[in-house]
């Protein structure tokens, strides 16, 4: 058994003529926190949707725990959790029903017990029990992210995906979410794959960083290596400059 939790080889995905992933190779090691950075629209979300089977890649291989997952009939979702960019809470359900969704629908747990479980996990992400009976629409963006996180970790996943967890939050709330991500991943001993273009967040939560550009991973390394790297694309991205080899397609 290799020490890679996720192993991606030669992954291709196009929409019509638009090549989004153009031969992605990437390893996520067991228990590490890998952050994929890259500009808006470079295919970061498409990448994690391919890993979770939400999109079917055109070619390539994705292995989780050394097992191919593309086209598998096994339920791969049981060991994964995902925090969506817009939280993606079910607006027809209350906050606690969102958090306890898996318990209610898959484990057939009695509602009373599921509600208590949900409140326990809500507390872990810093939300008071009073929030449990609200509807998601009544929450602020930061609170929705917390509920989304609670829902993602409810089933004690081995892998957690974070899609731009800090986008749209103020810097302080963003940092609170960063801390929660680190904490909950540690608590579960989970492997995490985060995609973001927020460098402050990337520095804080990453063990390693990978940069996606033009459908390929063009750089991988630790945060320390990143600051020493003279890769011009990477340098331009972390300095946030409009001058450099990366041309924005407007």
């Amino acid at each position: 058994m290799s020490d890679n939790k996720i192993e991606i080889r030669n992954l291709y995905k196009a929409f019509g003529k638009k090549k989004v992933l153009d031969g992605v190779d990437l390893d996520v090691k067991n228990g590490e926190s890998l952050v994929v950075i890259g500009g808006s629209g470079t295919g970061k979300s498409v990448l994690i949707k391919c890993i979770q089977g939400l999109l079917t890649p055109d070619a390539g291989s994705i292995k989780i725990d050394d097992e191919e997952v593309i086209g598998t009939s096994k339920n791969i979702h049981e060991k994964m959790g995902m925090l969506f960019q817009g939280a993606a809470l079910f607006d027809s359900l209350s906050v606690w029903e969102n958090v306890a969704f898996v318990l209610l629908e898959n484990n057939r747990m009695p509602r009373k017990d599921a509600r208590l479980e949900a409140i326990r996990v809500l507390r872990q992400v810093g939300l008071a029990p009073e929030v449990a009976d609200l509807s998601p629409a009544e929450l602020s963006g930061g609170m929705q992210k917390r509920v989304g996180l609670a829902r993602a970790i409810m089933n004690k996943p081995e892998i957690i995906f974070f899609d731009e967890p800090t986008t749209g939050l103020d810097p302080i709330m963003a940092d609170v979410i960063n801390d929660l991500i680190i904490e909950s991943a540690k608590g579960l001993g989970a492997t995490t794959l985060t995609i973001t273009h927020d460098m402050a967040s990337a520095r804080k939560i990453a063990d390693r960083i990978a940069m996606l550009y033009k459908g390929k991973i063009i750089w991988v390394g630790s945060v320390k290596d990143m600051d020493k790297s003279d890769n011009p694309y990477l340098k331009q991205f972390i300095s946030g400059s409009s001058q450099g080899p990366i041309q924005m397609e407007v």
């Binding site: 949707k49 979770q52 089977g53 939400l54 339920n75 979702h77 049981e78 994964m80 959790g81 995902m82 969506f84 960019q85 817009g86 993606a88 809470l89 079910f90 607006d91 969704f101 898996v102 629908e105 898959n106 829902r151 089933n155």
Partner: protein
């Protein structure tokens, strides 16, 4: 130059055709998947119940109003189109037949398409563009079983009930006009209606209703499920679901009618 024009012409013709065929492929696959998942557990009874109420109970007013006026207008039209001699019997039976065979099923279905098909498209479309459908999958729930099957079952089961209700109200509308406007004898009108009542007419209406229910739910879910591009995409999905299901209702109405008379 000429070649260029020809190429543009062929492209202009070809692109919509190709996209139509691709969409037809997606649609067929979607319907097959939906129907298949209607029979695979888990069955979400609570969601079915909610849809049942939404489609059935809350559609009673619109279905009642449309069939009431339809029955009334048929009574007047029939009366004005025939000689007075024997009008009583003819009006009652024409109202009965047209309401049970055609008006109640078609009008109810069109109303439900506007009310429920649109709501399904908007709801599922919003879930699509806000990634709630992806979230369902990551939580090990199958969206076809969780979202679509309950809607299809509810629509198929509740539409015939709505149409039976529409039958009664429509016939009552004819009765109102007959008795209070055309001065027919109430007892005779009721007798004439009862004498002409045929099981096959009611059955035809009910069969149509079940098919229309399926059409409305599938079109609403399909357009919602495939919507993309934010609020605008959801709006388009809503409109498309109403237009396509209305057209399909009228086409299926013809086909089922012909099937019944081809016996």
């Amino acid at each position: 130059m000429l070649r260029k024009t020809f190429e543009t012409f062929v492209q202009a013709l070809g692109r919509p055709l190709v996209s139509f065929i691709i969409n037809l492929g997606y649609f067929t696959q979607f319907v097959a998947k939906s129907v298949y998942n209607c029979f695979i557990p888990p069955f979400y009874l609570k969601l079915f119940g909610k849809q049942f109420l939404d489609i059935g109970f809350y559609s009673l007013p619109v279905v009642g109003l449309t069939t009431l006026f339809a029955g009334m207008v048929i009574a007047i039209q029939t009366y004005s189109g025939i000689s007075e001699y024997g009008a009583e019997g003819v009006v009652a039976s024409v109202v009965l037949i047209s309401v049970t065979r055609e008006l109640a099923p078609v009008l109810s279905a069109l109303m439900v398409a506007g009310r429920i098909g649109a709501a399904m498209a908007a709801e599922i479309g919003t879930m699509r563009v806000t990634e709630q459908i992806d979230a369902l999958i990551t939580l090990s729930a199958n969206p076809f079983r969780y979202l679509i099957a309950p809607r299809i079952w509810a629509a198929i089961i509740v539409m015939p009930l709505l149409v039976l209700f529409g039958d009664v109200i429509g016939i009552f509308g004819g009765y109102l006009v007959g008795v209070y406007k055309l001065d027919f004898n109430p007892a005779n009108y009721i007798n004439n209606t009862a004498d002409n009542l045929q099981a096959i007419d009611i059955i035809m209406g009910v069969v149509k209703a079940a098919v229309f229910g399926f059409v409305v739910a599938v079109m609403g879910c399909y357009h919602g499920y495939r919507s993309k591009g934010g609020a605008q995409g959801v709006g388009e999905a809503t409109t498309n679901s109403v237009v396509t299901s209305s057209i399909l209702i009228l086409i299926f109405n013809y086909l089922i009618t012909e099937l019944f008379f081809a016996r």
